[in-house]
């Protein structure tokens, strides 16, 4: 078998040398999560050359969240309906748990069954984040995976690029968007923010469960059909013991996400370990019936920045901005557990601000200040400010709010509906006394009402 010399294929005229990508990109985005991909998409749409550096094998590979994606901003940037979604939220239910009782409130507004379904969907991050990153690539961004940013490049205090864990691993760019999530090693390593106190960080643990022997288990147990789904939130002693936090159960297409999150300071001191707390929560009389016969598909864990408004770091630096969880943009006040909408909104504003600064050829913090201003006037910072006082107060009253009140409400409830041969006046009287005792009589109740007046 001899190909004579004339057939010899010459590669000499092919130029395959490695180009130098320093300053070939206008911006480098650290992390292909919701904030990172949104920032990249926004900048790309404004004509910037953007490089997204993702440490996972694919966008979403390293990302974990409770389970519900809020898409009001995303809807204006991409066609949300063509995204890989699991179910829209048709019912929100809040359960207050003592060790063995539940008192719950449920909302199922009819309008949530119509698009845009209150912009609330359950998703699988492994699928959704990859889809969102693809939108950014479609718009012209460049994505490189399996590459971890380990540090920032500086000239003076101006940030001029990133360093990665690969050989020949530095790349310069005028702007860097830090979207590395809550475990923000790069931002902290480059002194763009301090390490959070453990009181301001929650540890989250979660399982995705399937029901091998039962088809329609989700439709039957959560009373949903078609693409409708449910979002159950739980708090009180039965969910996370005496820690400050809460539990959740969300319905995906044919799996269920069940998990909880509570402060690291509690996990370190009083609480059994996260896995033990999850087991107890899943076995609670009000939760167990939803999960019987389930098998674990995936067990995950995550930390959530919950420092609120006062813990937001400096968002804008010379040549760099912080977005999403890296900027601590998560609202958790017990009723609202929102991080995804905040991440997308911050990515959007950051992207716009970088594009504007690039038009003016400036990289200094003042030129990027538009990002902070836009964020402060958006729902992101305003919601955090609104509930800033609540988080401190709930911390102070946690004994009352998480143990005594749920117990009192449960006892009052069972008292009010007790079936015996005593007259209803006695039942009503006892129920009222249970409640008043817990809140410290009428004066106590009045004080509480004033103390939490801004909650409604």
């Amino acid at each position: 078998m001899t190909a004579d010399a004339t057939d010899r294929i010459s590669l000499a005229d092919r130029d395959t040398a490695t180009p130098d990508y320093d300053d070939a990109f206008d911006a480098v985005v650290v992390g292909a999560g919701l904030a990172g991909s949104t920032a990249a998409l926004t900048m790309a749409k404004n004509g910037l050359d953007v490089l997204i550096v993702e440490r996972g094998r694919f966008p979403g590979a390293k990302n974990v969240f409770g389970g519900v994606l809020y898409t009001p901003t995303l809807r204006e940037l991409v066609d949300v309906e063509s995204a890989p979604l699991e179910r829209y939220i048709a019912e929100r239910r809040f359960g207050m748990l003592t060790d063995d009782d539940e008192t719950a409130v449920s909302l199922s507004p009819g309008e949530w069954h119509e698009p845009p379904h209150n912009d609330s969907y359950t998703v699988r991050r492994g699928a959704f984040d990859e889809w969102l990153a693809d939108r950014a690539v479609d718009a012209g961004a460049t994505l490189v995976c399996r590459t971890t940013v380990t540090d920032l490049l500086r000239e003076g205090d101006r940030i001029v690029g990133v360093e990665t864990d690969r050989p020949d691993g530095t790349v310069r760019a005028p702007y860097v968007v830090l979207a590395e999530g809550g475990n923000s090693l790069v931002s902290e390593g480059a002194d763009l923010k301090d390490r959070e106190r453990r009181e301001n960080v929650a540890v989250g643990v979660k399982e995705v469960l399937e029901f091998p022997e039962r088809d329609h288990a989700i439709e039957d147990r959560f009373r949903v059909s078609g693409d409708a789904g449910a979002s159950y939130h739980y708090f009180g002693e039965g969910a996370v013991g005496d820690a400050f936090g809460g539990g959740f159960v969300y319905t995906n297409e044919d799996t269920v996400s069940v998990g909880l999150a509570y402060r690291l300071s509690d996990a370190a001191t009083s609480q059994p370990d996260p896995e033990g707390t999850l087991d107890a929560f899943k076995s609670h009389p009000a939760v167990a019936p939803l999960l019987r016969g389930a098998r674990t598909v995936e067990y995950t864990a995550k930390t959530i920045p919950e420092g609120g408004a006062e813990a937001i770091p400096q968002l804008v630096h010379d040549g760099a901005v912080l977005v999403g969880d890296t900027a601590g943009l998560v609202l958790n006040n017990g009723l609202h557990l929102e991080g995804t909408n905040m991440a997308v909104e911050s990515g959007f504003h950051a992207g716009k601000a970088v594009a504007d600064a690039a038009d003016r050829g400036r990289t200094d913090a003042d030129a990027l200040a538009g990002y902070r201003e836009a964020l402060e006037s958006s729902f992101v910072v305003r919601n955090l400010d609104r509930y800033e006082w609540l988080i401190e107060r709930v911390q102070e009253d946690r004994q009352l709010l998480f143990e005594e009140l749920p117990r009192a409400v449960a006892d009052a409830g069972s008292e009010y509906f007790r079936m015996d041969r005593a007259p209803k006046d006695d039942h009503a009287e006892t129920a009222k006394r249970e409640l008043l005792q817990a809140v410290g009589g009428y004066t106590g109740a009045a004080k509480l009402a004033v103390r939490y007046r801004n909650l409604l």
């Binding site: 294929i9 395959t16 990508y21 460049t142 790349v171």
Partner: protein, 263 residues
């Protein structure tokens, strides 16, 4: 004297082992579901080839036989450091068994002017290990299989290898040109450089070569040049096992004694 050797590396796209699920009703491996990745033993081959270039200079070119989607493995090879890469693609290759496959890779090596052809000892999806010796036979070259280490002596047109053999090893010096099949797990594959990975994944275009361009007629390749065919498949009932779990070593000893297996 070979001063600027051309080192061609054969790589292949295979289903990802960890993602291959057992199809519950047939008991077969459901390969279609698994994503396609670079054949893991090929990373050792790429490292061996790049190591040769580090030691003695030369050009390293990756080649793969497959459909256009196989370009991904060439990108990974270029990202790891290969100077260039070629996709050997032609409908005529469909249904090839190891005979025409080794012929095609031999033709590609010849057309690219290879002095050394390196590949993994086997692929995880067929694992016959026959293709490398087949390529050497088609070309009439020397062959070095189950190679754990390489030492170039290109000034004397020779390549020295340490081969793993039953019960020990051999040191074998082969004249160039030579086909090398590297043992799996014996090399430390290097991580791709950032700029090279960016170039490979966004700008690099592999050279596309058809059967004709590497000097082969359609009848020499594909199904009608393949001596073997699959006559049939039959499921073999798994061996029945007690599957008895015991808690302690003592209980195990007793169980074995009762079963008359020991004592």
């Amino acid at each position: 004297m070979t001063d600027d050797p051309t080192i061609v590396v054969g790589v292949k796209q295979v289903p990802d082992d960890d993602e291959v699920r057992i199809d519950p009703d047939t008991g077969h491996l459901d390969r279609a579901s698994a994503p396609a990745v670079l054949n893991p033993p090929d990373r050792d081959a790429l490292e061996a080839a790049l190591g040769l270039r580090d030691a003695a200079g030369g050009t390293v070119v990756a080649v793969t036989m497959g459909p256009p989607t196989a370009t991904d493995v060439l990108e990974e090879a270029v990202a790891m450091g290969c100077d260039d890469a070629a996709l050997i693609t032609d409908r005529a290759f469909a249904g090839s068994d190891t005979w025409p496959t080794s012929l095609t890779l031999a033709a590609a090596a010849e057309s690219l002017g290879a002095d050394v052809f390196v590949c993994g000892e086997e692929t995880t999806d067929s694992s016959t290990g026959q293709v490398p010796p087949g390529i050497a036979a088609h070309l009439g070259w020397a062959q070095l299989t189950y190679v754990e280490g390489l030492e170039p002596e290109f000034d004397d047109d020779r390549l020295v290898a340490r081969r793993d053999v039953e019960g020990g090893y051999e040191i074998v010096a082969a004249d160039l040109p030579v086909v090398v099949a590297v043992a799996y797990g014996e090399f430390e594959p290097r991580p791709a450089g950032l700029h090279r990975k960016l170039y490979a994944e966004t700008e690099f275009e592999p050279l596309e070569l058809s059967a004709d361009e590497i000097g082969l007629d359609d009848e020499e390749v594909g199904i009608d040049a393949s001596p073997t065919e699959v006559g049939g498949m039959e499921t073999v009932e798994p061996v029945e096992r007690e599957r008895e779990t015991v808690d302690t070593a003592e209980e195990l000893a007793d169980a074995l004694a009762d079963a008359g297996v020991v004592g």
